[in-house]
């Protein structure tokens, strides 16, 4: 491997004159040049692509927008392939010179892969398990919901749940059969599910392909075997088929109700119902939910519970605590006629019974709803929706004794489980209570320390009433949602207004500023998810749709149970928005940890002995290393090979500085053996733009220096040998352009300042970029730092992204049209000349301001100028 010194020696070009080459050799050399330049160009494009992907990764980690594992994997994969290509191109430019590089790359890549690779598809364990045989520790086989239920029923002295679970192993078997999961992953990658229209289409497609897929024979046989004894026991057996997914509580979330349940299913249709429940993993709401919460798709295994149906007189949901006031002794019992479905779906104004635990469980208060409808079992299959008799609508669905029984059960379950729970229950015709579901209840207390934000007295109230389903206040334009199609058009930041609190509107909650519904309650799924996402929600507000329709921007004060016209800042100010909503989730953490091996740049100084392949710690380090070395390799090849057409030529110009030009490929209009290049021969688009900036205004010479500035220079000169004129350094006095038609690299040492510009300008807009590095100066470090800050501010004002480290500045602009790139390069050319020795005057803020005005004025003239792209 050539050392830095060797490279430098080659840079300095101390080669002896050689005899002329035979024509065949010249031709071979010409081809070699072209080939090398092609690799160089591909390396630059790949370098650009790699930086772009890294920036994208950084952006999603910082922004509030959600992303999924498919994003993480596709970006990491694309990036690895790109960096691999960079390493390979460098090896083409310098065969065998950096042999440690591929190895370092593979080590880093393996680290990243370990963090983002998907788990294997297969899974150990029985495909089907009877609920009676389920042990509590089998939650990762049957899902927490079913494991809990089986365990709880036996310990609460309730009738043991019959039925069985198709396990996570059964799910894995089904999804592996006929490559179903593979096909789904492929389609997930191809779509952008952050776009609502694509999400809806994809969701429908994926669910269709699951429902159409064949259930493998061994799984069918296992289900039949466990179903037969149940059917023998009860001739009219009907089943409730419910999801019990794994991974729902990955991020401390309880994902209420986004999966499908099939109720009252006949044994003949069980397989179909099973597939429909499995398919609901890819329901719109579920997919959006996983995306927003950073849950990995592959972590969600759909276990499915199949239990004999209960004939319910009444049913509903019990919260063992009031989630908004968890310290109070309150048990909330929501109840309606028929099956619990009407309560769970938020489609009916249910009864609310408040009970206490102490001194003994008892009814404390009740609020009887107008229960218009109920769901009951159809004799054959499925549910029917019935209108309740007018006499029943306002009649309490539970008597005080049943309320007491439920309160006692709730208190016992909470004590047993060690925390608040959300219970779904049904009351049968014999007066027995059946526990259908039991989930952890998320608490969202009204914060005591939060300022009791009250609206100004003159605030225009549009609407009052309802109940707080999720705390807080939010403002935005009203958007009324009636149909699924409305959800597609739901604008981010709008206030969601709907008649029914349907679970499917949950898919909009990551975009909604607040929620107002006419029906529904704190116990519904929508309320649950609203609390989880921290979206303020007011439910059970009579007449909300009619009053709010067309209201424009409103402020929803869920705590104060009111809606105001316009934005009421005093209400909104009280609640700061959280950090990244996905922070801590598996998807977020996978990318964050992978990014540690990707994004940080630790190889900073190309002149340092640590600038070696072995020291590359991240993919960014590798790209930086390869880029630096590739530029050197191109340069040294051009300098080293005595090849008249291509070796460097001095630019014929009246500017009193030495400019040298090395043509890489097609930067000169014609091949010439002359030692000089003329400006009119140059067809490099970026070089011409840069040159325009360099020559646009005459340099007025060094600025007048105060005595302290001069002292600073003299002190530097005694310590820095590069500044001493007697030290011979040909490189120090020359400015080198390396060019092709679309590429230009300038290495320049003007006085004490070292700078480099590199640019690609062509029709491939995505590959266009310009970078500028600037370092050094004659003054003391404080002034040098001030100067790079000064230059950095100017560049930022003109669209560059700038980073400054000590007295070194790096600026970059990319992905612009050729005209904009040319403008940026004119500005760079101008600054290279006109900020020389500005470090001398940096002490005085007056002079800084004066120079700044002058520079801005001339840049303004430059930006409008410019010649057309040469033909």
């Amino acid at each position: 491997m050539p050392s830095i010194l060797d490279t430098l020696r080659r840079w300095l070009g101390r080669t002896a004159p050689k005899p002329p080459r035979p024509p065949a050799e010249v031709e071979a050399l010409r081809i070699a040049f072209q080939t090398r330049y092609h690799h160089f160009k591909l390396l630059l494009a790949a370098n650009n692509k790699a930086l772009e992907i890294m920036a994208e990764i950084q952006a999603v980690l910082a922004e509030q927008a959600p992303f999924g594992m498919t994003f993480v994997r596709s970006r990491c994969t694309r990036l690895s392939a790109t960096v691999f290509a960079i390493v390979r191109h460098l090896n083409e430019l310098a065969p065998g010179a950096y042999t440690a590089l591929p190895e370092r790359f593979r080590e880093i890549e393996a680290e990243i892969n370990r963090l983002v690779a998907p788990p294997p598809l297969s899974r150990q364990g029985p495909l089907v398990l009877a609920l009676a045989d389920v042990r509590p520790e089998q939650a990762d086989l049957v899902g927490a919901k079913m494991a809990n239920l089986a365990d709880l029923a036996s310990r609460m002295g309730l009738a043991p749940p019959g039925g069985f679970v198709v396990t996570a192993a059964g799910f894995a078997r089904f999804m592996a059969h006929s490559d179903l999961q593979t096909e789904i992953n492929r389609r997930l990658q191809a779509a952008d599910i952050r776009r609502p229209d694509e999400l809806y289409t994809l969701s429908a497609d994926l669910q269709q392909s699951i429902i159409r897929a064949e259930v493998p024979e061994d799984l069918q046989a296992a289900i039949t075997a466990v179903l037969a004894p149940l059917a023998a026991e009860e001739s009219a057996l009907r089943l409730a088929v419910r999801s019990s997914a794994l991974g729902e509580d990955e991020a401390g979330t309880s994902f209420a109700g986004q999966y499908r349940s099939q109720l009252n299913v006949s044994p003949d249709n069980l397989l179909q119902a099973y597939k429909e429940v499995v398919a609901s993993k890819y329901g719109v709401a579920a997919m959006r939910y996983r995306l927003a919460r950073g849950i990995r798709d592959e972590d969600v295994a759909m276990c499915v519970g199949c239990m004999p149906m209960v004939d319910a007189v009444a049913g509903g949901v019990v919260y063992t605590r009031n989630p908004l006031k968890p310290d109070a002794d309150e048990i909330l019992i929501h109840s309606a006629w028929g099956l619990p479905k009407s309560v769970v779906d938020g489609g009916v104004a249910a009864d609310l019974f408040v009970a206490r635990r102490h001194p003994e469980p008892a009814l404390v208060a009740r609020q009887i709803g107008d229960k218009a409808i109920r769901f009951v079992r159809h004799p054959d299959e499925g549910l029917i929706r019935l209108e309740n008799d007018p006499a029943d609508r306002r009649r309490p669905s539970l008597d005080p004794d049943r309320v007491r029984d439920l309160a006692r059960l709730a208190a016992a379950v909470e004590a047993d489980q060690g925390g608040p729970r959300d219970l779904e229950w049904a009351l049968d015709h014999q007066g027995r209570i059946h526990l259908l579901q039991c989930r952890p209840l998320q608490l969202h207390p009204l914060e005591a320390e939060a300022p009791t934000a009250s609206p100004p007295p003159e605030a225009p109230v549009r609407l009052r009433g309802g109940q707080t389903a999720s705390t807080g206040a939010g403002a935005g334009p009203v958007f009324v949602v009636r149909r699924d199609a409305d959800a597609l058009a739901f604008p981010p930041g709008a206030v969601l207004v709907a008649a029914l609190a349907l679970p499917r509107w949950a898919s909009l909650l990551d975009r909604a500023a607040a929620v107002v519904t006419e029906q529904g309650s704190i116990a519904g799924h929508l309320a649950n998810v609203a609390r989880e996402f921290g979206v303020p929600a007011l439910m059970g507000v009579e007449g909300a749709v009619a009053v709010l329709h067309g209201a424009g921007i409103v402020t929803v004060d869920a705590d104060g149970m009111a809606v105001y016209d316009g934005r009421i800042e005093s209400l909104l100010a009280a609640r700061p928005r959280p950090v990244h909503p996905m922070a801590g989730s598996p998807v977020y953490e996978a990318l964050r940890r992978a990014a540690d091996h990707i994004v940080p740049l630790t190889l900073l100084d190309p002149d340092s002995p640590a600038f070696r392949p072995q020291r590359c710690r991240t993919l960014h380090d590798i790209t930086r290393f390869c880029h630096e070395k590739a530029v050197h390799e191109m340069f040294s090849f051009g300098k080293h090979h005595d090849f008249p057409e291509r070796s460097s030529k001095q630019l014929f110009t009246d500017i009193p500085m030495q400019w040298w030009v090395l043509d890489l490929d097609d930067g000169l209009a014609r091949r010439t053996e002359a030692r000089y290049a003329r400006l009119e021969d140059i067809v490099s688009i970026p070089m011409l733009a840069l040159w325009e900036g360099i020559t646009a205004f005459a340099w007025e010479g060094p600025p007048p220096v105060d005595s302290r500035g001069m002292m600073a220079v003299m002190f530097q000169a005694t310590t820095n040998r590069a500044l001493v004129p007697t030290v011979r350094s040909s490189l120090a006095n020359r400015n080198y352009f390396m060019i092709s038609r679309h590429y230009c690299s300038l290495q320049s040492r003007l006085g004490f300042h070292f700078c480099s510009v590199e640019a690609m300008v062509g029709d491939r807009r995505g590959e266009n970029y310009a970078t500028f590095r600037f370092k050094g100066g004659a003054a003391d470090e404080g002034r040098r730092v001030q100067r790079v800050t000064f230059v950095g501010e100017i560049l930022e004002a003109h669209g560059f992204s700038v980073s400054i480290r000590e007295d070194a500045l790096a600026a970059r602009i990319e992905d612009e049209k050729p005209e904009a790139m040319q403008r940026a390069l004119r500005i760079l050319g101008y600054l290279i000349i006109h900020t020389r020795q500005l470090d001398m005057v940096m002490a005085s803020s007056d002079t800084v301001a004066r120079y700044r005005r002058k520079l801005e004025d001339q840049i303004g003239q430059l930006a409008g100028a410019g010649s057309p792209v040469p033909a």
Binding site: A24, E25, E27, A28, L29, I31, A32, Q34, T35, H38, H39, L42, A45, T70, R73, S74, C76, T77, R78, S80, A81, T82, F84, A85, R88, R106, E109, I112, N113, V116, A117, T182, N185, R186, R187, Q189, A190, H640, H641, H742, G762, D763, R764, G766, E767
Partner: protein
């Protein structure tokens, strides 16, 4: 055709004379892609399996092959390996709906020109075809000069 006698493809006539084969078992994707490339006057053929691709390569010389990574029977990585062993000059671009770092690194290690993710921007794909084709032309040119050893030794 001797590529050395041909002018190198420049940016304005980048894919003149370039023969492209696209291999993908996903018929809809394949059809759409072929149509879009032909609309841009690119000489392109389709194969729905690795086997069909190998048969076509037997009788018809190709410059660039675009492969899906996951295909039934023989997957794209194995096909890449076969192509590179038999026709080392052909450039192969992997285009896949299955993001996998392992497959990407394996494919690149076997000499794939690049590894792209679906959905791919059509312009990006065409740029890749241009870059791969130019590389192939340069290599061919270089090989016809291998009889002048030492030309580059310095």
């Amino acid at each position: 055709m001797d590529p050395y006698r041909q002018p190198l493809p420049s940016e304005s006539t980048p894919l003149n004379g370039c023969k492209v084969l696209i291999v993908d078992d996903e018929a809809d994707f394949l059809d759409t892609l072929i149509k879009r490339l032909r609309r841009r006057r690119i000489d392109v053929r389709a194969a729905e399996s690795a086997g069909e691709a190998l048969t076509i390569l037997e009788s018809e010389p190709m410059d660039v092959v675009v492969l899906d990574v996951r295909m039934p029977q023989m997957d794209g990585i194995r096909l890449l390996e076969r192509i590179k062993a038999r026709y080392p000059g052909i450039e192969v671009i992997m285009l896949t709906g299955h993001a996998s770092l392992e497959a990407a690194v394996e494919g690149m290690g076997l000499g794939a020109f690049d590894y792209l993710m679906k959905p791919v921007d059509i312009d990006e794909l065409i740029y890749k075809l241009q870059d791969a084709y130019r590389k192939r032309c340069l290599l061919k040119k270089q090989h016809s000069h291998q009889r002048t050893p030492g030309a580059l030794a310095d």
